[in-house]
Amino acid sequence: MSKQLSLKMPKARTERAEESKFILEASHLGQLLSALIGKGYRAIGPTVRDGAIVYDELHSLRDLPVGYTDEQAPGCYRLEKGGGRAFFNYTVGPQSWKKFLHPPSLRLWKADREDHRFQVVQEIEQTTKFAFLGVRSCELQAILIQDKVFMGGQFVDPVYQACRDNIFVVAVNCTKPGGTCFCQSMGTGPKATVGFDLALTEVLEAKAHYFVLEVGSKKGAEVLAEIPYRQADKKRIQTANRILARSAKRMGRAMDQTNLKELLYKNYEHPRWKEVASRCLSCANCTMACPTCFCTTVEDLTDLTGQHAERWRKWDSCFAMDFSYIYGGSVRRSVKSRYRQWMTHKLATWVDQFGMSGCVGCGRCITWCPVGIDITEEVRAIRGQTSKPKSPKSYKEKN
């Protein structure tokens, strides 16, 4: 850490908030990326692929979706290159960071057979040090939720932990929430408050383009020390705050949290489950896109000689019929019971299991549902409120 920095770092909570905020000129963002790569991180961030923003390796700032905006509505995602210089003027795409921390497919171990015996070989893979650039507040909360699942109980997932312990998080506060976003009502956004090493709020004005930067950890401060920055002034801080306050009011959706757990526990037999089941394709898109869904299955394989076996873990979904299979047949045979399981888990049983909701309001399950089923609308229906979900059109008008 440089001397200059250690003077300015937040030493105590009593220090005025402004003093721990800095300005990073947009023209210096590339240096942040280089600093991370220089420190041995594999930098991952948003990039455009097949008409959507996905998370993949960033080699330079050119890989970022500069000038892109997205439009999201139930069952609908559209990416547009409107031009402009903004780096982060879109929200979350179909993927989430869980694809790195909790990979979709993972070999757990290998075994070698010799006569009647076999020996299990643990894979001691070198864990990649990931730097995640552009983590949204809801996504940070989703990571904290998966921390509970994989590291907060009686057993710890060593693969998750090894990866998790080594990540560097550059959060990006949301200045333009999407049509299916509802983090504000879930208390998970749009501004990152915990769990980051550095956090950025992008400000793009006629003659200025900069980030208001916050430091969340010692690791963050060490990286900051390697790039040009300056102390933030009041005016710029206020500008960033104003943008974020406005963004909190621009959520495409909302979910009323009042007694939500009790509501769902009371409504296992609500007629709405049957209604939603008539629309749901049981395709599992929602669970794959969801940043908190953690379910997996295992596959055991052998090679042709039978001398080598492997055990793989793969993402699974409670929407799959065989997910609940026991001798005699699956427990949840109907789509109705599977949708009920998914939504009740997210919003009710999850709270009893992990002490927090399983939903961070990122809206992915709404956008990526091929038939546009909207979890916020389903909650309203169970509450007996008949309000129609906002159409993509009304969202557009609002903005």
Binding site: W109, V149, F155, S324
Partner: protein
């Protein structure tokens, strides 16, 4: 124990020390760990891995009061993994991960009557409890075992059942759904035995394991006899892929059966037990 705290997903090879055919589709495998030790609580299960085929939850069926003694599992052939398991022989190797899950309420039962109601393979997870009841017989009052099998040929642990009834002051009643051969005993579902069994409902603890439908009727009958839900314990079965709370498969309402169960005090799960497709 055979769960690595460093990596609870790793299985440990155990040598098969003995194989015993119980009935036409059930068998007991005796396993030997490398250090000869394996401690567990009655009601707990292991994840058993058949090389290259798969891993399934199977309850431990041996005597917990002798941790240096035998480790056995009794399984029924119903599908891919259990079929492969049935073909295994002495000297083969099976992967073991465990023990996992909650125990039968043997401490809570001290000073009380104990009523055990089981159906089919459900006797296997209760055998360790029976061993413990017998080992500390004088700590308990009446011990009643009600057991239902489909046919006389499908009765598990036949010799032991006789011995328990004869030598250890257990009241053992066996019934079959369908009488065949020379069967002269009870015919009918196991729940019909409950109304006749001799125990003091105001001071009894019940332990129930069998198919869900059998447990449903058993709980009803026990309730009729006056045993409240807090004193009924059941062992639940759900699909399990990990046994350590990661895979999500075993969920039952807010419960993870692999960790919060498989043995539950019935009042804890009663709100979910009655519902369809939870």
């Amino acid at each position: 124990m055979s769960i690595s705290t460093e990596n609870p997903m790793l299985t440990t090879p155990f040598r098969i020390k003995g194989v015993r055919k119980e009935t036409h589709d059930t068998f007991t495998l005796e396993l030997e760990s490398q250090n000869g030790k394996f401690s567990f609580e009655p009601g707990q299960f292991n994840m058993l891995y058949v090389y290259g085929i798969g891993e399934v939850p199977i309850s431990i069926s041996s005597d917990p009061t002798k941790p240096d003694g035998r480790l056995t599992h009794t399984a029924r052939e119903v599908g891919v993994v259990t079929k492969a398991m049935k073909q295994m022989r002495t000297g083969d190797t099976l992967g073991v991960r465990g023990p996992f899950g909650t125990r039968w309420p043997l401490e809570e039962a001290v000073g009380r009557d104990v009523v055990i109601v089981t159906g089919g393979i459900g006797l296997a997870p209760l055998r360790p409890a029976l061993y413990q009841l017998i080992a500390k017989r004088n700590q308990y009052r009446k011990v009643v075992l009600l057991y239902g099998a489909r046919t006389p040929d499908e009765i598990l642990y036949q010799k032991e059942l006789q011995k328990w009834g004869g030598e250890f002051d257990l009241e053992v009643h066996v019934t079959v759904d369908r009488a065949t051969g020379a069967w002269r005993g009870n015919v009918g579902v196991v729940t019909t035995l409950i109304s006749r069994a001799l125990f003091d409902p105001s001071n009894a603890i019940a332990m129930v394991c069998g198919p869900e439908i059998m447990m449903r009727y058993t709980i009803q009958e026990l309730g009729k006899r006056g045993i409240s839900n807090e004193r009924i314990y059941v062992s639940m079965e759900r699909n399990m892929k990990c046994a350590i709370g990661f895979c999500g498969h075993c969920q039952f309402g807010p419960m993870f059966v692999c960790q919060d169960g498989p043995v539950f005090q019935f009042n804890q799960i009663a709100p979910f037990f009655g519902k369809q497709e939870v």
